[in-house]
């Protein structure tokens, strides 16, 4: 049974990555926002860096980790979209009619999405380095950044998997992610330091998980990661992951049985 789980997950990974290679526009579209944000904001708001502490390395150094983290939010809806498509096309029923391991259906999708987010993040990191961002923690730091972004993506993907399984509508998933995206990233520490925000926005930002994910990524890139930043971010993301995964699993079991 355990072997089947691994074998079937690998088979589905092969399926999803073949699809990605055949439809490169999907990956390209996903990369437009982070790459554009990175270039536009850093090149247009050059003077903004003057307001930042001298040690910070300018606005680009502040912005880049936030943008890397954005990949998690952009990748999160993919699993839900794919699940809705497979439910509608009958492909999910077809999989359920085989002898395959049931959890592999979910696992294959989750692992794919995390790997895709890692690929997107690597491309973003390369662009950031080309623009002059210093990754002072080196490869181990970059590795931890990728783990963090993938973990955050996993935590968020449950929301969209649940919506996808329940509504079977990709439009609903796009609408929800569209509505959540801008408020979540702009009222957080992802793009701008919260010290520039009015107090109400600072309050919202202090509860916004995107802030926690951005802060830990920023510290992993620039160095100076404190245990408390790391623990609070991982506990919060872990808690979100636990809740969203539990709901996804509940919805998924209803479909499977």
């Amino acid at each position: 049974m355990r072997l089947a789980l691994i074998y079937d997950t690998m088979s589905l990974l092969e399926r999803y990555f073949t699809k990605l290679v055949r439809n490169p526009t999907l990956l390209a579209t996903n990369l437009v926002t982070p790459l554009l944000f990175l270039v536009l904001f850093s090149q247009l708001l050059t003077k903004f860096g003057e307001f930042l502490p001298a040690t910070s390395g300018g606005y680009l150094a502040y912005l880049a980790p936030g943008v890397i983290m954005l990949n998690a939010m952009i990748g999160a809806p993919q699993g839900g979209v794919s699940m809705a498509n497979d439910l509608n096309s009958g492909f999910l029923s077809k999989m359920l009619l085989t002898q395959m391991s049931r959890p592999a259906i979910l696992l294959g999708r989750l692992v794919t999405d995390m790997l895709v987010v890692v690929v997107q993040s690597v491309i973003t990191i390369v662009l950031a380095i080309l623009l002059g961002v210093q990754f002072s923690t080196g490869l181990p730091g970059i590795f931890l950044v990728l783990v963090t972004v993938a973990f955050f993506e996993f935590a968020l993907s449950g929301i969209f998997l649940t919506v996808g399984i329940r509504t079977r509508k990709t439009e609903t998933i796009s609408a929800i992610s569209g509505v959540l995206f801008f408020p979540l990233i702009f009222i957080s520490s992802a793009m701008f330091p919260v010290s520039f925000f009015p107090s109400w926005a600072q309050t919202i930002s202090s509860y916004n998980p995107v802030s926690y994910a951005s802060d830990v990524t920023r510290d992993l890139v620039g160095g100076g990661l404190t245990l408390s930043t790391f623990v609070s971010a991982y506990v919060l993301i872990g808690a979100i992951a636990l809740v969203t995964f539990a709901i996804t699993l509940y919805q998924f079991r209803k479909v499977v049985s």
């Binding site: 088979s11 439809n23 096309s89 029923s93 999989m95 009619l97 002898q99």
Partner: protein, 328 residues
């Protein structure tokens, strides 16, 4: 040979309370080509979903390949292949990749899987396009590939839910030939649902006619047609309000077994209808009932359905019988 499917008093009730399948019983023997014939919404697809473990039944006792449906769905899935009504292939993958994925999900691998894929591509004549994405396949090609993917793990029992609905004549005939071959040469047991009379008539050794969740007749196509009681004489009246009068009159014509009312007139069943046709026309004429159309045909499965339900099987472009219009 023993029963490969046995269903006793199968009941399927939807969450909204609809009784989709209302206490049906049937047996399918190993090696059979068995069919469920009925109009849209009769309960055919629902029955297939339950027999293939995709949907839970509400009541009754069902065994498939010797396993209880509720207790051993996993064992049943190993034995069966399913071709669902909607073609479910990944259009981004090639034909070969689709078969490979399906085979791997059926826990096959290595040389065994590769050989089986080659064998099936040859069977459904898709070797030439096997490396093209399925998105570029025609409807008929997709159906053939889907059939191959249902057969990948060498099932003993194949379920087909309306396998030729929406296909052109050529693709339909191709599918029929594959199925007949698989049943005859490999002894594959086939359970098919269809709304096409010609399909049921040509392929199935045994049929159950289903309507509104109930079985209304069972037997071989020949037995079912014989039970209609003879040839069918279809009479369309110039004035359809005369239907019941015509029915009364025709009942007394010697040789007429039964008369029923239909859309624009009446249908009479008679042994050797050709010999009494003159009598029918004269009798009606004498009573002042004008005919606008008359035809004589051998009984079809549609007549079986009509006799039991008073309706014809709908949306059936294949059922145009070989009629021989007389007069008018």
């Amino acid at each position: 040979m023993g029963d490969i499917i046995s269903a006793e008093n199968l009941v399927i009730v939807y969450r909204d309370g609809t009784r989709a399948v209302d206490g049906i019983s049937f047996n399918v023997q190993e090696g059979d080509f068995f069919g469920f014939l009925g109009p849209n919404g009769a309960g055919k697809s629902t029955t297939i979903k339950v027999l293939t473990t995709l949907l839970r039944k509400t009541g009754g006792k069902v065994t498939v390949a010797g396993f209880d449906l509720d207790e051993s769905p996993g064992e049943i899935r190993k034995t069966i292949g399913v071709l669902s009504q909607e073609t479910s292939l990944d259009v981004d993958l090639t034909g070969r990749e689709n078969l490979r994925l399906q085979g791997r999900l059926q826990q096959m691998h290595g040389r065994e899987l590769d050989d089986r894929i080659d064998e099936l591509l040859k069977l459904v004549q898709l070797e030439d396009v096997a490396r093209k994405p399925v998105g570029r396949y025609s409807g008929g090609m997709r159906k053939r590939l889907d059939l191959a993917s249902a057969l990948i793990h060498r099932p003993k029992l194949l379920f087909l839910d309306e396998p030729t609905t929406g296909l052109d004549t050529q693709s339909r005939t191709a599918i029929w030939e594959y199925l007949e071959g698989l049943n005859k040469s490999e002894g594959l047991t086939i359970f098919l649902t269809t709304q096409y009379l010609e399909e049921a008539d040509r392929l199935c050794h045994k049929l159950s006619v289903i309507d509104r969740g109930k079985l209304i007749a069972s037997g071989s196509p020949m037995e079912l047609k014989e039970a209609v009681g003879g040839d069918t004489v279809t009479l369309v009246l110039s004035d359809s309000s005369m239907k019941s009068r015509a029915k009364e009159i025709l009942k007394d014509v010697p040789g007429v077994v039964e008369v029923i009312e239909s859309d624009g007139g009446v249908i009479a069943y008679a042994k050797n209808a050709g010999q009494i046709i003159a009598g029918i026309v004269t009798t009606l004429d004498r009573s002042g009932i004008q005919l606008s159309f008359l035809s004589v045909s051998s009984p079809s499965l549609d007549d079986v359905f009509l006799r039991e339900t008073g309706r014809r099987i709908r949306s059936d472009e294949l059922s145009r019988r070989e009629t021989e219009p007389f007069l008018m």
